[in-house]
């Protein structure tokens, strides 16, 4: 077991806490860079989707996991990013510029949604974002001159300085770079005063306010950063699929995104990636398990929904910190091996937080 005695503020702020972090993350980085030469093309495409969902997940994690505001309409931001990218690259704009516009427009929409969030919280905020999601989905379907309506819209491959990211490998690297940059950005944000303010708002709005945190400003900020990341993710998603239609950005997608970060582990950056891996690998695992199950169960159309729901219920009941929490427990068990205490991660119940009293 490793004890880290912090003796200076610099040490407390450092991204890599000890040599082990440096070693394992370098190994991961080497693995990710080497992936195109090792993994078959299909797996590489799946890995690209993992990266894209992780970018969106990072944004939602910042909002739901760190600021404590949960959004039931996050797919709408994904859609705003995707459609902006589709329209702008269709008009011949360069990739980087249109990506910036996609992020910027999503962030602006995020501010607009964030404004009602200043007045409402808890389930009312859920309702506001849910309604927003429905309205945006309808706008995508009806605004045919820009979005192509229900018949969808095709995209051209991204292009930077004449280099076209057409192959699976090149697009993978593009996504990898953007994912790494956004992860570092989020990590840096979280150790800055802004990130601390977000966490303070999540833990107690009243005490955050009494510490001099401007609730309205930080909540809106959180919404806009989260929406910008979702917009970037949406733009990449659109490029990867090369075809988008309104039903890709509906309420079920929003719920999938929430499911992703809850299962990954709320309130951890690792959770966004673990959740994305889970979300992408789940359909594969289900189709693999179909051969094992009796035909009546395995071939039934509702199997996927049942498995998703059951996994979600199991995680909320038994592992509220998600996959990341499970990993923490395993790691602690290994570190403390013969001395692991049973109640080490026991949850505390609180009956004081109530939406009704405001």
């Amino acid at each position: 077991m490793r004890f880290i005695f912090k003796t200076s503020y610099e040490q407390d702020l450092r991204l890599a806490k000890h040599g082990g972090h440096v070693f394992w993350y370098s190994l991961l980085a080497v693995g990710l860079v080497a992936a195109p030469w090792v993994a078959p093309e299909y797996w590489l495409a799946q890995l690209t989707f993992v990266l894209i969902y992780a970018i969106v997940g990072l944004g939602l994690m910042l909002l739901a996991g760190f600021t404590g505001l949960f959004s039931l309409g996050h797919a709408a931001f994904l859609g705003v990013g995707a459609y902006t990218q589709a329209v702008l690259t269709g008009m011949g704009w360069p990739f980087a510029l249109s990506l910036a516009c996609a992020a910027g427009l999503s962030a602006a929409v995020g501010v607009v949604v964030g404004l009602p969030a200043l007045r409402v919280k808890g389930i009312y905020l859920g309702m506001a974002t849910l309604s927003f999601g429905f309205i945006v989905e309808e706008v995508f379907a009806r605004w045919e001159s820009a979005t192509g309506g229900n018949s969808g819209k095709h995209l051209v491959p991204p292009e930077i300085w004449g280099f076209k990211f057409e192959s699976t490998e090149s697009f993978y690297f593009l996504c990898l770079v953007i994912a790494v940059v956004s992860t570092l950005a989020i990590l840096n944000l979280l150790r800055s005063p802004t990130g601390r303010a977000f966490v303070a708002i999540r833990d107690s709005e009243i005490s955050a306010q009494s510490m001099g945190i401007h609730l309205a400003r930080y909540k809106t900020l959180s919404f806009s950063i989260s929406a910008a990341l979702a917009g970037i993710g949406g733009a990449l998603y659109a490029h990867k699929l090369q075809f988008i239609s309104p039903d890709q950005f509906n309420i079920l997608q929003s719920i999938d995104l929430l499911l992703m970060i809850v299962i990954g582990g709320l309130g951890s950056v690792h959770g966004a990636f673990l959740g994305a891996i889970f979300l992408i690998s789940m359909p594969q695992l289900i189709s693999l398990s179909k051969d094992w199950l009796p035909a009546a169960v395995g071939q039934a159309p509702g199997l996927q929904a049942v498995v998703y729901g059951a996994v979600l219920i199991a995680f909320v009941l038994f592992e509220p910190m998600g996959l990341y929490g499970r990993w923490l427990k395993v790691r602690t068990w290994l570190q403390m091996f013969p001395f692991y205490r049973k109640g080490l991660f026991k949850r505390q119940k609180s009956f004081q937080k109530s939406d009704r009293l405001r």
Binding site: A64, F70, P116, R119, V120, G122, I123, Y124, G126, M127, A128, L130, S131, F132, F134, I135, E138, A141, R142, I206, I251, I255, L258, L259, V262, L266, A296, V297, A300, P301, G302, L303, Q304, A305, V306, V307, Y308, G309, A310, V311, L312, I313, V316, L317, P320, R347, K349, S350, F351, K353, S354, D355, R356, L357, R358
Partner: protein, 291 residues
């Protein structure tokens, strides 16, 4: 006359929204949790009635009563098995939990071979009946929905006003700790609230079935009932019904007078306006938290 016709169909649709919203409010008042599985409970109630009528050959009224009772029992069991262990955790985890329950219920019904994926019609005795009132055409289905909702409201009102159980439930919804000190079995009442909500959802499902169809995805209408609950105020029982009526009428009128696309989003636009103007809803309670 056209307006009146639209109004009546809006009211009957709104009654369904109101009944589902009633389920939300019952659960919210009792346990401070929001159930996203309410629409799926409604779907399950409709399927339950269908199974009793077509497979077991129950007469209509028996089937209705039996499926309401069965769903009530199901709600109690659900609360005991899944919801109770999680009480006291943040509201967010309970929302995710009920979303999970909704997924499982929808998936399980879909998995029933040859039944789950089809649309069915519920054989009701009042099918295809209609009355003429001048130029106004009144469908029996719509009248039954309105009548049954009114009856259910009176029943619930009487229960909360006069029965010992209802008064105990009111007490525990106002202050659980104080109610617990007074010897009210708060946990058991929470279970009963879930049971009651599931039973109300079953009524909504059985009433909706003749108007639309019985289908595994009919529970998605529950998403329309959230606006109803918000407009009425999340903690108010009459508010749920009024909110449902408002949403139903707005939807029906906007479907006719406004361009395409407004019918599906009208409810959500109303919610956004409501949240901006009066976040507590029409009948919302105003409580202040002591720091």
């Amino acid at each position: 006359m056209q307006f009146l016709q639209l109004l009546i169909s809006g009211i009957s649709q709104g009654c369904i929204y109101g009944l589902i919203a009633l389920g939300f409010v019952l659960i919210y008042k009792a346990t401070e949790t929001v159930s996203f599985a309410q629409g799926e409970l409604m779907m399950l109630g409709a399927f339950c009635g269908l199974a009793l009528m077509t497979v077991l050959g129950f007469p209509f009224w028996m089937a209705v009563l039996a499926s309401i009772l069965a769903m009530g029992l199901f709600g109690v069991v659900l609360e005991r098995a899944v919801i109770r262990p999680i009480l006291g955790q943040p509201a967010f985890s309970i929302v995710m939990l009920t979303i999970g329950i909704g997924y499982v219920l929808r998936g399980l019904v879909t998995m029933i071979p040859n039944i789950g994926t089809d649309t069915h019609t519920l054989p009701v005795p009042y099918k295809d009946l209609s009355f003429r009132l001048g130029a106004l055409v009144l469908n029996a289905e719509q009248l039954v929905v309105i009548g049954a909702t009114a009856a259910l409201c009176v029943l619930l009102f009487a229960m909360f006003r006069y029965s010992k159980l209802g008064i105990a439930m009111q007490a525990s919804s106002q202050n659980q700790l104080a109610a617990y000190y007074m010897g009210i079995p708060v946990q058991r009442l929470n279970g009963l609230a879930w049971g009651l909500a599931a039973a109300v959802a079953a009524v909504a499902g059985l009433l909706l079935a003749p108007i639309t169809f019985v289908h595994a995805n009919m529970g998605l209408i529950g998403l329309k009932a959230f606006p109803a609950a918000v407009v009425g105020g999340f903690g108010s029982l009459p508010g749920a019904i009024v909110g449902g009526l408002v949403i139903g009428i707005v939807e029906s009128l906007s479907g006719f007078y406004l361009p395409d696309g407004f019918k599906d989003t009208a409810a959500y636009i109303v919610v956004l306006i409501m949240l901006m103007v009066k976040p507590n809803g029409l009948f919302g309670e105003k409580l202040r938290k002591k720091v």
